[in-house]
């Protein structure tokens, strides 16, 4: 298995999105979400309007990690697929080598075989794209690191200074009441 950097380039995502769109057509799944193994969103396709993808990514990564421990207790290296069955919606989660996870949300349970079959097929293509990487020079939007850092650190001050003031006010009020 190759190495996957935590920088994802637009060219990779364009390629991956094509694979995922094709998967949705073949399986009639509602949505498909690609996340890193430590719980970061890589891309999503289909209807994700009803899903908090940030929270989902963190929870799925967590549950897969927990499952890995269960697997090791049973003498397995890991379980490569998790299937969660609901009343209306179901989730099929599969591991993409050691780098990512693919979450498929679908409604028709009769399609579970299709989902499983095509998930295996698409996961190989997606893994290839992730490992292949991309080129920063091709990005339309450049990240100016120095400016980014300066702006971000100022913002951190703003977010937490307001809260600090509120705390000081609260402490003053409590002291007066005493």
């Amino acid at each position: 298995m190759g190495d996957y950097k935590s920088i994802t380039f637009s060219s990779q995502i364009e390629e991956i999105n094509k694979y995922l769109d094709d998967f949705i057509i073949k399986t009639t799944a509602i949505s498909i979400i690609l996340i890193t193994k430590d719980g970061q969103l890589i891309t999503s396709r289909g209807d994700v309007s009803f899903i908090n993808t940030t929270a989902l990514a963190a929870l799925v990564a967590g549950s897969f990690a927990a499952t890995k421990e269960v697997a090791s207790l049973l003498g397995e290296r890991e379980f490569s697929i998790l299937l969660q069955q609901g009343e209306k919606r179901h989730v099929h989660i599969s591991l993409l080598g050691s780098i990512a996870m693919m979450v498929v949300v679908f409604e028709n349970l009769n399609n579970v075989g299709k989902v499983r079959f095509y998930a295996k097929e698409v996961s190989q293509k997606v893994t290839g794209s992730l490992i292949k990487g991309g080129k920063r020079e091709e990005e339309r939007v450049k990240l100016e690191l120095l400016n980014f850092k300066e702006y971000a650190t100022n913002l951190i001050d703003t977010i937490f200074s307001d809260s600090d003031s509120a705390l000081i006010e609260q402490t003053k009020t409590e002291t007066k009441e005493k």
């Binding site: 935590s6 719980g39 969103l41 891309t43 908090n52 929870l59 421990e69 850092k149 913002l155 977010i159």
Partner: protein
């Protein structure tokens, strides 16, 4: 390592609150969640037992908004502190850009603090993360209790790498923002594109 997604124009950082059980890791996150403006926070998730102990992790995404064309988030996680959840702690540490180590200042908790710190070093080593260069802040919590060690003593016994440290009473919010401010800034400062 922070994740940068050019296609989504997103940058995500991961900070993990580590330390012994009942030290105040979840309390830190809860205070942050309750106190900052709604525009800067996402949904907080707590996976707890029925006795309100952290079972797997707490998760709070800080939404910094769009910075120079990139939507930026800081993902805050806590680990379960109880000794028998070692496997969970290891998994949650994966990909961490920074660590906040919460010390329980009470005298009878000194050994738990030391053991947890040693375990943290071990886990980081397994992920090839150098603790000397990893952004880390130590927080001495529960400074309002009576039977506590002096900060000087805790610095000597626990904070072996002399990371920046703060006194705190997390339940009242004292020291919580000072801590997160420094760890966030350190993590952002260390962010590189390579």
């Amino acid at each position: 390592m922070a994740s940068l997604n050019y296609a989504l124009r997103e940058i995500n950082f991961k900070i993990v609150y580590y330390g012994p059980g009942l030290g105040g890791k979840t309390t830190n996150l809860e205070y942050i969640y309750q106190s900052i403006s709604p525009s800067y926070k996402g949904k907080m998730i707590s996976l707890m037992t029925d006795k309100e102990r952290t079972l797997f992790f707490d998760f709070l995404p800080l939404e910094l908004g769009e910075i120079k064309g990139f939507t930026t988030r800081v993902h805050l996680y806590t680990v379960p502190g109880q000794e028998y959840y070692e496997a969970s702690r290891k998994l949650i540490l994966k990909g961490a850009d920074g660590v906040v180590f919460i010390v329980d200042s009470q005298k009878d908790r000194l050994n738990e603090n030391i053991n947890s710190y040693k375990e943290l070093l071990l886990r980081l080593k397994e992920y090839n993360l150098e603790f000397d260069t990893l952004p880390c802040v130590v927080q001495y919590n529960k400074r309002d209790l009576s039977d506590i060690h002096s900060v000087f003593h805790l610095e000597e016994m626990v904070n072996l790498h002399k990371k920046p440290s703060f006194e705190a009473i997390a339940i009242k919010g004292v020291g919580v923002f000072a801590t997160i401010k420094v760890i966030c800034k350190s993590v952002i400062e260390k962010f590189e594109l390579n």
